[in-house]
Symmetry: C2
Subunit: 160 residues, 2 copies
DNA sequence: ATTGAAAGACCTTGGCG
DNA sequence: CGCCAAGGTCTTTCAAT
């Protein structure tokens, strides 16, 4: 499982560019990595076919459209039967307000990132999707004051 | 601050589509929302100009290219002078292995999501970028067993 | 793997309802 | 605000290397 796919520095350069800006044109990327547009196009197709490039997503300013409150939930679950847990993870990830779910080791079992309109909305989400479930033992809620997201390659350019 | 921008259902539909797949062509989006391509194009330009659409980023299968280990760090900081804290947040977000940083209320002050090659790499990151800093009092590390990310609009389609 | 060329599709703007 | 039309640009394929 998790077959290792090896990429050369050009592939990494393409991925790095697309992670920063998925709206770059093929022509722009080709120029940046020093390839002809057709070669670059082939590389990108190959990266997609090999399951390295999974897709692209718009980054939206959710604050600007009324989602003024963000929170991180630390969820403790009961008896950890893997199937039940995975189902709950999937169900949680399917909640529109949920941005990400992490099943983790340690004090909390789940770390959940949610975006909501206001406190009442947050209360509704927690009560509806967490406190209601038998598998959930406890939810600790942290308000997010500030957040920064990184869209680059987890590898300094100097490393390749 | 955080001026409220109001969008109609068509704007939401466009955003919803682009959040799921930023590589949809303007023509495809126009067809999906029932507009002429030129009208749709104008809407998207406007969304960008108003700061709602911030950009787009490729989703890359990091597991497939050798980043086999993901962790969440819960960081406790010392005396919380806002300027020092914000600087540390920015510095942390600039570390290539860091995917996201959340400054939160509650037990932990920072929640940090990192992606690394292996345990040694994780150790290096923590020791280099966290334990070394005077502002950091304690780091609790949780391994990520499973994760799901949500790229949709935090709002069910039926709500609009 | 990479390239150049060609055809077709798309983006983008401007003028008009 | 939305639509049509036109020009210019880009994507996409393919034969050749």
């Amino acid at each position: 499982m998790a077959a290792e796919i090896d990429l050369d520095r050009t592939d990494f350069a393409i991925l790095r560019l697309l992670m920063k800006d998925a709206w770059l044109s093929n022509k722009q990327i080709a120029a940046a990595v020093g390839l002809a547009p057709s070669s670059c196009h082939e590389r990108i197709k190959s990266l997609r076919a090999r399951g390295v490039l999974l897709g692209a997503h718009a980054e939206v300013n959710l604050q600007a459209i009324g989602f003024a409150l963000e929170a991180v939930l630390f969820v403790q679950l009961g008896k950890l039967e893997i199937e039940v847990v995975d189902n709950f993870v999937s169900a949680t990830a399917a909640v529109p307000e949920v941005r990400g779910v992490f099943l983790v080791s340690g004090r909390a079992d789940l770390v959940v990132d949610v975006v909501v309109h206001d406190m009442e909305h947050l209360k509704a989400i927690i009560s509806q999707h967490f406190n209601r479930h038998a598998v959930v033992q406890r939810v600790e809620t942290s308000v997010v004051f500030n957040r920064k997201q990184q869209y680059g390659m987890p590898l300094a350019s100097s490393d390749m």
